[in-house]
Amino acid sequence: MSASTTLIACWLGLAVLSFASVQLGSAGATLLMVCAVLLAALGKAWLIADGFMELRHAPPMWRWLILSWPVVMAAGVLLALSVSL
């Protein structure tokens, strides 16, 4: 697969996950829905980091450093919101 095709595939994945997160968000305000929306966001962050930012070819330290940011954010948001649900 050429680099350009990979990038377009990443964009398609990002678009599908964006539509999915809006649909999930309108389906209700349960902990399961929050988890699903955050998982979609994590998928999008991974596509941007590994696809657009090319971190899949980067030294592992930098890859994990950047990929850990959305994971920490999603965990923090889930922890905070689970209190109010």
């Binding site: 680099a3 350009s4 990038l7 377009i8 990443c10 964009w11 990002l14 678009a15 964006s18 539509f19 997160s21 809006v22 999930l24 968000g25 309108s26 305000a29 929050v34 929306v37 955050l38 979609a40 966001a41 999008k44 962050a45 941007i48 980091a49 696809g51 657009f52 930012m53 090319e54 070819h57 980067a58 030294p59 592992p60 930098w62 450093l65 950047i66 940011w69 959305p70 920490v72 954010m73 999603a74 923090g76 948001v77 905070a80 919101l81 209190v83 109010s84």
Partner: protein, 199 residues
């Protein structure tokens, strides 16, 4: 500062791992992500403390607009990444056109966001209205400033590309600028569900 960081991992196969762009840009991105992390977590904690207030505040936001904002930013990111790929294949002129497309797509984001800001301000939902809108304006406003800076960077890169300043062995500055733009995307994919979706 070095232009690219390359590490040799295994001498037999897949020999090099490459960090695109300037190393300084990666440290800048880490610093920016740290600041955005504080803002995003503040928003989430405030929502946990005042869930009804945030639920009511979110009723004034349109998730369809949020989705359109997301798609315009992501499409702009795709064009920027494709431009970088073209320059690496010695197609600088084509890269310049793709950067122009990235700029146009990002302009859609700016236009939509300004419409949203204008609508909220005219409805009396300014920064001082309540906690939700204080955090909404600070968080999205801070991100919006980054988008505006990104437009300046993309314009500069497009012009330099048009002049033939970048090529296959000389595109570290282009990679750094494009990385900044992807960082703006990365922040948005967490900001969007938190502000628009997670009721």
């Amino acid at each position: 500062m070095s232009t690219s960081l390359e590490l040799t991992l295994r001498p037999d196969a897949s020999p090099t791992r490459h960090l695109p762009g300037d190393l300084a840009m990666w440290f800048f991105i880490l610093a920016e992500l740290t600041v955005f992390a504080l803002l995003l977590l503040t928003f989430a904690v405030a929502q946990a403390l005042q869930p009804q207030l945030f639920h009511d505040g979110r009723q004034f936001l349109d998730s369809s607009t949020g989705l359109a904002l997301t798609l315009s930013l992501l499409t702009s990111g795709l064009f920027a990444a494709l431009a970088q790929e073209q320059v690496r294949q010695a197609q600088a002129r084509r890269g310049a056109w793709l950067l122009l497309a990235a700029l146009l797509s990002a302009s859609v984001y700016v236009w939509l966001k300004l419409g949203e800001y204008s609508h909220l301000a005219n409805s009396g939902l300014g920064m001082e209205h309540n906690t939700f809108f204080t955090l909404y304006w600070i968080l999205t406003g801070f991100h919006f400033v980054h988008v505006l800076l990104g437009l300046v960077i993309l314009s500069w890169l497009a012009e330099r590309c048009r002049q033939g300043a970048y090529g296959p062995g000389n595109c570290s500055a282009l990679e750094s600028g494009v990385l900044y733009w992807h960082m703006v995307d990365l922040v948005w994919v967490l900001l969007f569900p938190l502000v628009y979706v997670l009721n």
